[in-house]
């Protein structure tokens, strides 16, 4: 296999490290000038850094196009070289990674810009403007890490980014680390995300170990080149590799059973949810499987497992999304569900469909989250407006009461909203675009990508196809429910009544994203298949065959009808007769306990908590307190060793205190001294006793010699 050496390829590719450096430079600047720059400058620096990364990504795409899509590996720096282990900081530039680069930096830059406005209000709202630069530092760090993830030319470098984005996720979820439930809720959510991800990372690590000792390398090029041969020689190992990798995927891409962190991750500021927990980071797992396609295609067992996990997740979390009231939680579970679609796709071998959905999802889900952020801030503005009036009109005593109410008010609860389309028209329209795209209504982006997945599934894996179709139905339903609850009907609370539209710095990125969500389907329009041809360069290079299925009107029509039907159903429940204040959800009447299950997320968290977390805490305390300290440190060391020692010396001493066993002295020093004190009683001070000792010694020695 020939791999284009960087020397023989355009010098353009040498620019690739800058895709990481720009964000790093951005964050460094913001660290150095921490607190000395205005918010706008800080945001601009960060956005520019991200934008420059996008420029690099575009240049790479252009370069690849010039280079006929030939993959290129750009070595940069030696990293870990031990014996056969040869790991470098090297960049993989091929059509697959470039797609990811474009999505990450493109969507990322838009969200950066949006965040300039959003965070301006957020830091005021949270009362800590000093945190503003920190946000952009973390944001830039995230872009850098994500770039490492998608450009890495080896599993290990991918892993660097993989954990790096996890770190950013941790930092940004817990960005308002003194807020949330009991003041610590956000921090705990961040910690949960990191730890759950680490469980996945454990799988990834083991997969890497297996890979290295089976393939002799961790570089993509070498591993993929040997894939057929190794899969032949040791199929078991390769299955194990794919399964452990799947564990990693379930962690990062929030699949069953490790999805529990993603809903909690909504504790982060909304741009974070949009960028990290919807558009980019969580899709890393999909990217990993697509990247490892040359391995996966050899092991159907592994592929099946991935597909099933994806399908089940898609349906499972869709049911939960139906029962949520928090505007962001609905989107979060929707994200999990959509990730399930992608994972199922790449699992089935429909790599292009998976990547396609990844891209369109990045557009519309980022859009949805950002719009949701806009809604939330609109609500907060409304709330602020009321508080302002209260300040003017009411007496001090009432103000206190007001403040209490304000504390209880949740600007994210959809039950507090209603009729917002009048107050926030721009937000409404973009939100609607996103929702319809997500629901899979033609001709928006989501329709095409989802349709492609369903199409492939209908051919490759019927049970998973059924799971996905069911999930798609639920998707349309919960998005309809959300739209009607948030934007239609009458405002159910005062803040909703006074909600205000967001500034242009936020709405303009929204409009761009809405545009992308609308037309994103063109990327891989049936029949033209631009994306497929683009990605084919890479897959073909690694000898993965992509089978392209022709557009199937039957599948498309079915899914369209189903989507429209469930939107209609949503209208019947939520639109026709809008929810009143304090009224229970109409679904509760219909579904009863099932709805309770959906609402309570099927108690997965509770089960995990009970089965794993509590047990581990108990174990840790048991080990630390009983085993290590009381048993090993105190009892064993200070009692057993000493007591044994005492017993031993007791035999030696002639005039031991036989009146009962002495209380075992506490502590090494005292214990030993007690023993010594017993022995020193031999030294009575009486000469005759001393002589007796001598005499006894004589008798014993003589006796020994005579009766030996």
């Amino acid at each position: 296999m020939l791999l284009s050496e960087v020397s023989s390829s355009p010098a353009l590719f040498h620019l690739i490290p800058w895709i990481v450096f720009f964000p790093v430079i951005g964050l460094t600047l913001n660290i150095i000038f921490n607190g000395r720059l205005s918010e706008k400058v800080v945001g601009t620096i960060a956005s520019t850094a991200s934008g420059l990364s996008f420029v690099i990504a575009v240049l790479m795409a252009w370069g690849l196009a010039q280079n006929h899509g030939e993959p290129v590996v750009v070595p940069f720096l030696e990293w870990i070289h031990i014996g056969t282990l040869q790991l470098d900081w090297a960049f993989q530039v091929d059509t697959l990674s470039v797609v990811m680069m474009l999505v990450v930096s493109g969507v990322g830059t838009l969200i950066h810009i949006y965040a300039i406005g959003y965070m301006h209000e957020d830091v005021q709202h949270q009362g800590n403007p000093r945190m503003y630069p920190r946000f952009f530092v973390f944001f830039n760090l995230f872009i850098a890490m994500m770039m490492i993830l998608v450009t890495g030319a080896s599993y290990t470098m991918l892993f660097v980014g993989w954990e790096g984005v996890g770190l950013c996720s941790y930092l940004l979820i817990g960005f308002w680390f003194d807020k949330g439930e009991d003041g610590i809720g956000n921090a705990l959510a961040g910690k949960k995300a990191f730890i759950v991800n680490r469980i996945g990372d454990f799988g990834f690590l083991v997969a890497m170990f297996l890979t290295f000792w089976a393939f002799g390398s961790l570089n993509f090029v070498d591993v993929f080149a040997k894939a057929p041969e190794v899969a032949e020689a040791m199929p078991g190992v390769v299955v194990a590799i794919t399964l452990f990798m799947l564990l990693g995927v379930t962690g990062k891409s929030a699949q069953l059973p490790l999805f529990v962190w993603l809903p909690d991750a909504m504790a982060g500021p909304t741009p974070v949810s949009a960028l990290i927990h919807a558009a980019t980071m969580v899709t890393a797992g999909v990217y990993l499987v697509a990247r490892s396609a040359p391995i996966f295609v050899h092991v159907p067992t592994g592929q099946n497992a991935v597909a099933w996990v994806g399908g089940l997740t898609a349906l499972f979390s869709a049911t939960i999304a139906v029962g949520q009231y928090d505007i962001k939680k609905v989107l979060a579970y929707s994200t999990v569900s959509q990730l399930g679609f992608m994972v199922a796709a790449v699992g089935m071998g429909a790599f292009v469909a998976g990547m396609f959905h990844l891209i369109t999802h990045a557009f519309f889900k980022a859009l949805l989250f950002l719009s949701a952020g806009s809604v939330i801030q609109g609500m907060e503005r409304g709330e602020h407006h009321i508080a302002h009036h209260a300040h003017d009109d009411l007496h001090a005593g009432k103000k206190k009461r007001k403040k209490k109410e304000e504390h209880a008010f949740d600007p994210q609860d959809m039950r507090n909203m209603g009729g917002l389309r009048h107050q926030m028209p721009v937000t409404f329209w973009v939100y609607l675009t996103g929702a319809v795209a997500l629901a899979g209504v033609p001709p928006l982006a989501g329709f095409f990508s989802k349709d492609e997945i369903l199409l492939e599934a209908s051919h490759l894996n019927t049970p998973v196809y059924i799971l996905l179709v069911l999930a798609a139905i639920l998707t349309a339903f919960y998005m309809g429910r959300q739209i009607f609850m948030v934007f239609y009907g009458e405002p159910r609370t005062a803040p909703a009544e006074h909600a205000e539209e967001s500034p242009p710095v936020m709405t303009i990125p929204l409009m761009i994203l809405a545009f992308l969500a609308f037309f994103g389907g063109l990327l891989n329009f049936p029949g033209i298949q631009t994306l497929e041809h683009w990605l084919e360069h890479t897959f073909a290079f690694f000898e993965v065959e992509l089978e392209s299925l022709p557009f199937s009107p039957a599948v498309a029509t079915l899914s369209t009808i189903l989507a429209l039907a469930s939107i209609t159903a949503a209208w019947f429940l939520y639109g026709r007769e809008p929810l009143k204040k304090g009224e229970p959800d109409p679904l509760r009447r219909i579904l009863g306990p099932v709805f309770t299950g959906m609402e309570s997320k099927w108690w997965v968290d509770e089960v995990y908590w009970f089965l794993i977390v509590d047990r581990y805490v108990d174990l840790a305390w048991f080990l630390a307190d009983y085993v290590d300290w009381r048993f090993w440190h105190d009892w064993f060391h200070e009692k057993v060793i000493l007591a044994g020692y005492n017993a031993f010396t007791r035999i030696l001493s002639v005039r031991v205190d036989l009146g009962g066993i002495d209380r075992i002295a506490n502590g090494l020093a005292e214990g030993t001294q007690a023993l010594a004190a017993r022995m020193r009683r031999l030294q009575t001070g009486y000469v005759r006793n001393y002589a007796l000792s001598v005499f006894l010694g004589v008798v014993v020695i003589i006796g020994y010699l005579m009766f030996r």
Binding site: R680, Q683, G685, R688
Partner: protein, 100 residues
């Protein structure tokens, strides 16, 4: 002539009596005399063996022992006298200020 074992046996008995005397008696003077008894038991053994081997060196040894014993007596008695002066007692068990 009596066999050598008799002499040695006698000396051993004397020696043990001396040793037990040291262990049992409380009067310093008596203890001291018991020690002398032990030395003399040894002397008896020396003389007996010397006679058995027909050599003088055993006899010589006895003289040495006696001389040394005399020196010990000089020191010992003066110590006892000093103690008696200070404490008005020759009971060995009263000398147990230091112990442990």
């Amino acid at each position: 002539m009596l066999p050598i074992t008799y002499y040695v046996g006698l000396s051993a008995v004397l020696f043990i009596m001396g040793a037990l005397g040291v262990l049992i008696r409380r009067n310093l003077i008596v203890i001291f005399m018991s020690v002398e008894l032990m030395l003399n038991a040894a002397n008896l053994a020396f003389v007996a063996f010397a006679r058995y081997y027909q050599t003088m060196s055993g006899q010589v040894f006895v003289f040495f022992v006696m001389a040394v014993a005399a020196a010990e007596v000089a020191v010992g008695l003066s110590l006892i006298v000093a103690i008696y002066r200070a404490r008005r007692t020759v009971n060995v068990d009263d000398l147990s200020e230091m112990k442990g």
